[in-house]
């Protein structure tokens, strides 16, 4: 048997993109081998579209929905809801890594902490994009029309990506702070449902009580849903740039929070 170590070439630290790419590679393999996860998360929006589409069908006759009917109104909402729900689970992988010991390997390697976060975030976005395409497809089958065409769909998908980034990063930060699956999932449930219903995801503001309207105006979920709706429909609200700016700012803050939480985790061990 020959020596393992000789020759010993000087090893340079991998570039940030290589590090991120390898973290992404790892998580993509995991998500493919655990295919039931992504598959279930594709089934969920199908159920939502059928369920909400049917239950709230008669809303479509109200004047607030115009001629398009409820399904056109609903699909952008379900699109954002889908990435919101799966994003909220993003932190669970970190808790698994902490419990198994894989996190110790990351933290004792010369890897940028932001590459660890970014690699997994990109994997979440790849899965989220696949889900989003399925939502748009199912929506079309259910009768929704995307009058702004491909460009509009790209806008909606882009907004979904920004919204997903906010919730993936927030979930990651909470995971690294709590280090507890049950705490993370409970907190996600606590936030995700009100975030959905206190927004214009399923119902126009005009049909909501005054106090809910107030809240929904400041709810990032509302911003994302209205931007997505505007993109697919082709007519943008006045506040569109503010809403987009707010979402991007929140995504940047959440990303920073996640990276800082990873550093704080290491300081605590």
């Amino acid at each position: 048997m020959t020596s393992v170590a000789i020759p010993r070439p000087a090893i340079h630290r991998a570039g940030w993109l290589t590090q991120t790419g390898q973290v992404l590679r790892r998580w993509l393999i995991v998500s493919m081998r655990q295919a039931w996860g992504p598959v279930m998360s594709l089934v969920q929006p199908v159920i939502w579209i059928v369920l909400f589409g049917q239950v709230f069908h008669s809303l479509g006759v109200l004047p607030q929905f115009g001629e398009a009917g409820y399904i056109d109104y609903l699909v952008p909402g379900i699109l954002m809801m889908t990435v919101l729900y799966s994003g909220a689970w993003a932190g669970t992988g970190y808790i698994d890594d902490i419990n198994s010991g894989v996190m110790d390997q990351y933290l004792t390697s010369p890897i940028s902490r932001s590459a660890i976060i970014t690699g997994q975030l990109v994997q979440q976005q790849v899965v989220g994009l696949a889900q989003s395409l399925v939502v748009l497809g199912i929506g079309a089958l259910a009768g929704a029309r995307y009058s702004a065409g491909t460009g509009g769909m790209l806008v909606a998908l882009g907004v979904a990506t920004v919204l997903a980034a906010i919730f993936c990063c927030a979930s990651t930060a909470v995971a690294l702070i709590s280090r507890n699956q049950i705490a993370l999932i409970s907190l996600s449930q606590l936030i995700v449902l009100p975030a959905t219903f206190l927004s214009t995801t399923m119902m126009p503001a005009a049909l909501m009580p005054e106090w809910v309207q107030q809240i929904s105006r400041g709810n990032p979920m509302t911003w994302a849903v209205e931007l997505g709706r505007a993109g697919l429909g082709g007519s943008y609200p006045e506040a569109a740039w503010w809403q987009l700016g707010g979402l991007v700012l929140l995504a940047a803050l959440a990303f920073t929070w996640a990276v800082r939480s990873l550093r704080a985790y290491q300081r605590s061990i």
Binding site: M1, S3, V4, A5, I6, R8, P9, I11, H12, R13, A14, T18, Q19, G21, Q22, V23, R25, R26, I29, V30, R33, Q34, N99, S100, G101, V102, D104, Q105, L107, T108, S109, P110, I111, Q266, R267, I269
Partner: protein, 340 residues
């Protein structure tokens, strides 16, 4: 210990202190209480001590996983606090947990680990094939790691820690939880690494036999402090004379001590009770005289005993001598260490 050719140190640590702050009603834990050590290059350096002695905490600090509350250390020539990434690039770390992703195959795990640490794609592939071959995992290379046995996983963890050709390898209790066959295989791997590579190995263990077989130098750690350092041979030689061991049946430690108080020529007397059994251990310069006197004394006091053995000092005796005596009465950890 002076050495004529003054080898460079792979690791130098001084006065490491680690305090985990308490929370609520949980008190603060002083995991390390001023530990210093110097590890020469190219050797297997053992950290031996009971559970909770501070071995793993020392490893975590030296691998940059954890920061010391105070104190300093250099690993592979780099300061752990000022140049953590330089240290990280020079070390491999096999923690007590898993180092690999269970859903990835052995090959994927090693390739990702190598690329993350800056190995080029081509080199990572070649290195992966070679390491899997050397660690006897070539046939399992395409299987997800979750299908591996405990011994295979451990070998893969060690292989993963070597992908970037580190100069210092940390093995934190590498054989804990392995069956005897897997343990023997791991010992063979560690010996091979120590012999073939220009590699310094830091091995933490609470198994005497493991420390005795593998470590060129040994540091016994207890309660967050270094107790004694030397090669296993030196440590054993430092205990003059022979060891007398008497296994006891349902012993009353105080009674046993009282019974043999009058026996001359005994040193380092330790009496342990563990369940229904126990052991009386002592050292003496004249074993033949001491054995007879001890047996007579026990008989006279009506103390039941089993086997009586005389031997040259073992690492168990070293451990009892330094840990059992320096730190007062026997603790459960000492009993456990002696039983291993």
């Amino acid at each position: 210990m002076s050495e004529s050719t003054a080898p460079r140190s792979a690791i130098e640590a001084s006065d490491l202190v680690k305090i985990y702050p308490g929370r609520g009603r949980r008190p603060a834990v002083h995991a390390l209480d001023g530990l210093s050590l110097a590890v020469p290059e190219g050797r297997v350096y053992g950290l031996l001590g009971p559970n909770g002695a501070g071995k793993s905490t020392t490893t975590k600090i030296l691998t940059t996983l954890s920061r010391p509350t105070s104190g300093s250390a250099r690993v592979a020539g780099h300061d752990i606090l000022r140049e953590p990434d330089a240290v990280r690039g020079a070390i491999g770390y096999v923690s007590q947990g898993a180092g690999t992703d269970p859903f990835l195959t052995a090959t994927e795990n090693l390739e990702v680990a190598a690329r993350l640490r800056g190995v080029s794609a081509a080199d990572a592939r070649a290195r992966t094939i070679r390491l899997l071959d050397e660690f006897g995992l070539a046939e399992a290379s395409a299987r997800p790691v979750r299908t591996f046995s405990g011994g295979m996983r451990r070998r893969l963890d060690v292989a993963a820690a070597l992908v970037h050709r580190p100069s210092v390898l940390f093995l934190d209790e590498p054989t804990t939880g392995l069956d005897p066959e897997a343990r023997a295989a791991m010992w063979a791997e560690i010996r091979r690494l120590a012999g073939e590579e220009a590699l310094t190995v830091i091995l933490t263990t609470h198994y005497m036999e493991e420390a005795d077989r593998l470590a060129d130098r040994l540091l016994i750690v207890n309660r967050g402090r270094a107790v004694v350092q030397g090669s296993p041979g030196e440590l054993k030689a430092a205990l003059h004379g022979d060891s007398v061991r008497v296994t006891l049946v349902e012993p009353d430690p105080a009674g046993v001590r009282a019974a043999i108080a009058g026996v001359g020529g005994l040193r380092d007397v330790v009496v342990e009770a563990a369940g229904v059994g126990g052991v009386l251990a002592a050292r003496t310069d004249d074993a033949s005289a001491a054995v007879g006197a001890v047996i007579s004394a026990l008989d006279a006091a009506g103390i039941r005993y089993g086997q009586v053995a005389v031997s040259h000092p073992t690492l168990d005796d070293v451990y009892l001598h330094f840990v059992g005596h320096t730190f007062g009465e026997q603790t459960p950890a000492v009993t456990e260490g002696a039983a291993a």
